[in-house]
């Protein structure tokens, strides 16, 4: 334990570690969360052309208050929302005698910024109501007749089925996905959605990709740095030698991974609580993407996405430590570590679908947002919904990297 304590202290003493932690925290928590809530995404807009105001906190409160009036998603509440929208739009047109994109934005603002989510539901569930000759500024919420928006949940089932057919997911795979979908509870509670959409679809989706850079920089020097410091000879002649030092370094690497993740996650969750509160935690994720099949609410989805990033980070730490233990050059270890994440990310859309799915299983390469998708893996004759594998395989890869890392390190020990 003493060796672990000192090794851990040694890692944190490095300037590169301190700088990486600071940058990671700043990027993910200050820029990636605070600024998103207060300004970039949720700041109010005076008009469509100008930038946003630095008033996200107050703006979110107003939006949440507006959304509370619909309570749950039914045919009636959806019709009411569209009616309200069209009423506000008509009122605005009357005031300004104009029609254009800035009007949608103004109405959207007055109505709590849910326009694009709800327009997405309508275009997905009622495609026959779409008018092909409308201008690009005319969105469906503006012209559909509210009374035609009926049979919402039946249409959702149909839309899921159509989507699976279009995706070529038929037979056993379709049945398997439908069985998952059957567990989705209806009717859906309805609160303010854009906040959760941003958290689950943007903030957490990119977290692992950003953190991978900092994990790679810090952890690639963990073993390889000893060669750089030229300490191998004296370490090699100590009683504890490489083997126990390797164990201490592995623990340090894992511990650092958890600590950096915890710092970022706690920061992000606290900001989320401050800006969004807990309202809407029990909404199903279908409120964000209507044809998602996962029977998850927002809170469960958020837990999944954090767990996905954490386990991916642990898996990635294992991979980086393997490179660090096997390469004497820490720059090479760093480049290999970065290549493992960013290489597949860069090329995965240019490779066959099976290879793309395999790439997704690499630590921090896939995405926690697969809970919104219907991807499956076909293994030993069984279908497995991708989020189940995406959460466990990366961490297993990392764990499997640890014995060869220790062996590679210990091999240098002659005694």
């Amino acid at each position: 334990m003493e060796l672990f304590r000192l090794e851990h202290k040694k890692l944190w003493r490095k300037n590169s570690t301190k700088i990486c932690v600071l940058l990671c925290f700043f990027y993910c928590v200050i820029f990636g969360s605070f600024m998103i809530y207060q300004w970039i995404t949720f700041g109010s807009r005076n008009d469509y052309v100008e930038g946003r105001n630095f008033d996200g906190y107050e703006n979110i409160r107003k939006c949440q208050a507006y959304a509370r009036k619909y309570k749950e998603l039914t045919d009636e509440s959806l019709q009411q929302w569209v009616r309200d929208f069209q009423g506000l739009k008509a009122q605005l047109d009357e005031e300004r005698k104009t029609q254009g994109a800035e009007d949608w934005e103004t109405v959207n603002k007055r109505q709590g910024s849910g326009l694009f989510v709800i327009n997405g539901w309508i275009s997905t569930l009622y495609p026959e109501l779409e008018e092909a000759d409308m201008r690009y500024v005319d969105i469906m919420c503006g012209y559909v007749k509210p009374e035609k928006l009926t049979g919402l949940y039946e249409r959702r089932e149909k839309a899921v089925e159509t989507f699976l057919d279009i995706s070529g997911q038929t037979g056993g795979e379709k049945e398997y996905l439908f069985r998952i979908n059957e567990k989705v509870r209806k009717p859906f509670p309805w609160k303010w959605i854009p906040g959760w959409e941003t958290v689950l679809g943007n903030l957490l989706a990119d977290l692992g990709m950003v953190m991978a850079l900092f994990f790679a920089i810090v952890l690639s020097s963990l073993f390889a740095g000893e060669w750089h410091d030229n300490t191998s000879s004296i370490i090699l002649t100590t009683k504890n030698g490489w083997r126990q030092l390797a164990a201490a370094k592995i623990l340090t690497g894992l511990s650092f991974t958890l600590e950096l993740f915890a710092m970022v996650a706690v920061g992000m969750i606290l900001l989320q609580l401050v800006f969004l509160g807990t309202e809407g935690w029990n909404m199903p994720i279908q409120m964000i993407k209507m044809i998602a099949i996962a029977p998850m609410n927002m809170l469960q989805a958020e837990i999944y996405e954090y767990a996905f990033t954490l386990l991916g980070a642990v898996g990635f730490a294992g991979v980086v430590m393997l490179f660090s233990a096997r390469c004497k050059n820490q720059v090479l270890a760093l480049l290999l570590s970065l290549a493992v994440v960013y290489g597949p990310m860069a090329f995965k859309e240019k490779v066959p679908i099976q290879l793309e799915k395999a790439f997704d299983l690499l630590p921090l390469v896939g995405s926690g947002t697969d809970i919104f998708r219907t991807n499956t893996f076909h293994i030993f004759g069984r279908y497995i919904w991708s989020p189940y594998l995406l959460i466990w395989v990366p961490v297993m890869i990392g764990v499997l990297c640890l014995p060869p890392a220790v062996r590679g390190w210990a091999r240098r020990m002659r005694v």
Partner: protein, 286 residues
């Protein structure tokens, strides 16, 4: 305690770094002398069991050292020639880290660290980072780390490199005190250091152990082969070309040469007392 080296050999491809070296070391100070590339560092690394030998073995009290593993390392203190350190650590932090690697409990490590910092004269620089140290100070940190675990076998590869004369004297005294009941092997190019503290000298040349014995035993070999000759400056240059000149000093307009030769080089030459340095130079002039 007895360390036996049995026909220890190391090849790097076709190059023979250490060639069938055998020796038996008992408690005391052993000075390893040899020119650059003689195989001193390779031999020391094999004694520390961090370099695999091509053939031959090392035994400590009859037990083969590679088989002893951690038990052997527990008895070992080593200062490598190219001593590495963590630049952002203070001397104290570095020693505490090394103590943990050596399996020394935390409370004992703290006391031992303070004690050693005092012994090597670094107690006033405990809060400074090693990267700010002079070469000599870094070397003293290296010596201190080698002594942390009270090693029974202390191997020091060029420990006096970078030390000023005062520190070299301090180091010699430290090692003399330390070597009462343990084996200390040190290599250096500074022959006077070995002369001052080594109980026995091992002379290496081209990977082979060419001589072994106490300083007096070895210098006896050079007796009758060291001459002093006083000549003019012009003659001094000619002597340097035709004979092995160990030393040259000016006395007024004359030059006093110290010449190594099996027989009296000229009638005017006078025999003088041989030193270890004479033997060293003689060995490498052959």
């Amino acid at each position: 305690m007895e360390l036996s080296v049995d026909r220890l050999t190391k090849h790097y491809g076709r190059k023979i770094a250490v060639d069938c070296v055998s020796a038996v070391l008992k408690p005391g100070v052993y000075g390893l002398l040899g020119e650059n590339g003689a195989g001193k560092t390779t031999l020391m690394r094999m004694l520390c069991a961090i370099l695999e030998s091509t053939s031959g073995e090392v035994f400590l009290d009859g037990r083969e050292v590679t088989a002893m593993g951690a038990d052997y390392r527990d008895l070992l203190g080593y200062l490598p020639q190219d001593f590495g350190y963590y630049p952002n650590y203070t001397a104290k932090e570095f020693l505490l880290y090394m103590a943990a690697l050596k399996g020394i409990p935390r409370d004992i490590a703290g006391k031992r660290t303070e004690e050693l910092l005092d012994v090597v004269g670094l107690n006033e620089a405990v809060t400074k980072k090693i990267k700010t140290f002079s070469g000599g100070m870094k070397q003293r940190v290296g010596i201190a780390q080698a002594l942390l675990n009270h090693p029974k076998l202390l191997i020091l590869d060029e420990p006096t490199a970078g030390l000023d004369p005062k520190e070299r004297v301090r180091f010699r005294n430290l090692i003399s005190d330390y070597a009462k009941d343990c084996i200390v092997m040190l290599s250096t190019h500074i022959v006077s250091d070995i002369e001052a503290i080594a109980d026995e000298v091992l002379l290496m040349r081209k990977g082979k152990l060419v001589a072994q014995g106490s300083v007096s035993e070895l210098t006896k070999k050079a007796e009758g082969k060291v001459w002093e000759l006083t000549v003019s400056e012009a003659e001094a240059s000619r002597w340097q070309e035709k004979a092995a000149v160990a030393n040259l000093r000016h006395e007024g307009e004359k030059v006093v040469l110290r010449i190594l030769a099996d027989a009296k080089p000229v009638e005017e030459a006078v025999p003088c007392v041989a030193t270890l340095e004479d033997l060293y130079l003689q060995s490498f002039n052959e």
